[in-house]
Every structure is written in structure tokens, then in C-alpha cells.
Subunit: 188 residues, 2 copies
């Protein structure tokens, strides 16, 4: 065991984001990330399985948070409101990290391998949320449709927010995208 | 160039499905697929890049069909109706292939690598459909939300249909899932 390094995860993440942004994800090695962070490769691998995972370290936290919010929503709430409220409540989670989220998204958008990884993470998140809804007594098809609709809303809102200079709250953009989806599905 | 083999693609696809179903996707080689189909490995690789692609050979056809249906929809039609009608119209495409679709889905559901591949194909399809909607003058966010909603409807309907013994039309299940989504998003 190496010695404890204060905030090693955060330092590695910052270093990786900076290097990926400067040189492109493909051209950065784990050794370079560790060096930029003032840490060793060994420390890197204690925190992340590979250089891809540095970009997805937050997804478990996000999933736990959302699943918890769905599970704890008041009993009488309609499934779609449970999901949208859970998504709105992650606003704070991201709000402090706007600059980080924007940089991260630009790196992912530039690399097909990372886009695949993100898709899989989103699908895992959707599966976990659908399961949390089913535990509230929602049918399988309703849980699936509700969560997919919620994820669509989240993706559109998140993309807008990441491109935006932080002028608008993520929660506000989620609400707005949801209203847009509702109008679109109603609009026959 | 080897000699022309009648319906080599279809024979390879049938052989692969049968073998994947019998032994599991992981335990089947390209040589075995070719042998079962009465063809050579060389013929296999003229038609498919690898043993995974045999399962996704239809996705380009499906995408072209759907993009065409979106592009040709009457001008005044609301975006969500354009997408749902396009999806309903693929019913026939699948209806003749119920047994094939069911077997294929069971193989994909049993293998994470294939599930990833399917996610990527679905995302590619969604991107193409959103682009076809934007060409009809639909805004970027509306196109994205509409297509994601449509894909959610399609996935739920397709899953139901594949598990079903072919008792109900895919088009009918798509319409039903769409009505369910509409009720869910309206239901606050």
C-alpha cells in the first residue's frame, strides 16, 4: 500500500480532463495523467481501472442518488413526476461542476469509444431506475417507457446546459425539456 | 473471387442463429457457422466482418427504410406522428421474421457484448431519424425528444412482440405503447 494521497481521485480526474482536452483522449497515457497530478501510476490504478474510467467515476454516485430519489418519492406521485423530480434534484450535483461537465462532454463527443461507454452507462442507469419504479408497483412497460422518456429529457437538457455558459440551471432546463416532450407527445 | 453462392447471406444468418442458440454465442466460431451453412469461411467474410455482425445485418436496411418513411411523410404531420407512423410501417418488415427476431433477441439478451452492439445500432438509428426530422424543419431539441420517445415506444413494443407467440401485430403493439407513453407523460 502506498501512502495516502489527499484527494487523489479528484487530482487524477482534473489532470486527465486537462490532458485529454489539450492532446486528445487517444494520445494521453496513464503515466502522463499521474505525472500531471503529481502522483504515481500505482496510485492511478488504485482509483481507476483504466484511463477511460476516469471520465465515468461519477456515474455510480449519480445512479445511487437517482435510485434513492425514486424510492423515496411520495407514494401517490405519478411515475413520470417521480422520475422528472429525481432528475431535477441532481441539478445541484452538477451545478458546482459546470466547467468540469462541459470539458468532459466535449472529450466524450470527440471519441466513439467514449460515446459507447457513455451509452452503456446511461442504459445501466435506465435499468436501475426502471427497477426502482417497478418496486413502487409500476408495471414493467410503464416503468420502461417512463424512464426512457425521462432519460430523453435529461439528455436534451444536459446537452443544452453543458453548451450553455452556465446561465441557466440544469433543473430549469430539465423542467423545460419535459414540458416540450409532453407537448410533443400530446400534439396530434 | 469465389463462385457465387445462392442466398449466402441468409444461409449464414440462419446457421449462426441456430448455432448461437444451441451452444451460446461465445462458443461458436466462424468456421462452424460456414460449415453449417455449407459454405466456406472465405464466403462468410465476404458478407460479414465478424460473427457479431451476422446478427446486425438487417439494421442498415431498417434504418434506410425508417429514414425514407420520415422524409416522405405528409408535410403537415406532427413530428411524433411522423415517427410513430414510420415505426408502425416497419411492422411488415418484421412480421415475416417473427421466429427469427425472437431467437435473435434471446441471443442478444444473453450476452453483454451483443447488448452493447445493439445499443450503438439503436443510437445510430436515433441519430439518423433525428437528422431526417430536422430536415423537415423540426428544431434540434424537438427532433431529439421525439425520436427518443419513438425509440422508447419501439423498444417496449418490440420486446413484447418478440416474447409473444406472434399473436399480435408489431404495428398494433407500437400504437398501444405510444398511447401508453402519451398517457404517462400527460398524467400529472
Amino acid at each position: 500500500m502506498g501512502r495516502w494521497e489527499p484527494n487523489a481521485r479528484g487530482r487524477l480526474e482534473q489532470a486527465a480532463l486537462a490532458l485529454y482536452g489539450e492532446r486528445g483522449y487517444e494520445h494521453v497515457t496513464v503515466a502522463e495523467i499521474a505525472e500531471r497530478a503529481g502522483l504515481t501510476e500505482r496510485t492511478f490504478f488504485r482509483h481507476y481501472a483504466d484511463k477511460r474510467e476516469v471520465l465515468f467515476g461519477g456515474s455510480n454516485t449519480l445512479q445511487e442518488f437517482l435510485v434513492g430519489a425514486v424510492a423515496e418519492a411520495p407514494e401517490a406521485t405519478a411515475p413520470i413526476d417521480v422520475v422528472v423530480a429525481a432528475l431535477e434534484s441532481v441539478g445541484e450535483f452538477f451545478e458546482e461542476r459546470h466547467d468540469h461537465a462541459r470539458k468532459r462532454q466535449a472529450i466524450i463527443d470527440a471519441n466513439p469509444e467514449l460515446q459507447e461507454r457513455e451509452l452503456i452507462k446511461l442504459e445501466t442507469l435506465a435499468t436501475a431506475l426502471a427497477s426502482a419504479l417497478r418496486e413502487r408497483g409500476v408495471s414493467e412497460s410503464a416503468a420502461s417507457l417512463t424512464v426512457q422518456a425521462g432519460m430523453a429529457v435529461f439528455r436534451v437538457a444536459f446537452e443544452r446546459w453543458a453548451k450553455d455558459a452556465g446561465k441557466r440551471d440544469l433543473a430549469e432546463l430539465i423542467r423545460e425539456s419535459f414540458e416540450e416532450l409532453r407537448a410533443l407527445t400530446a400534439g396530434t
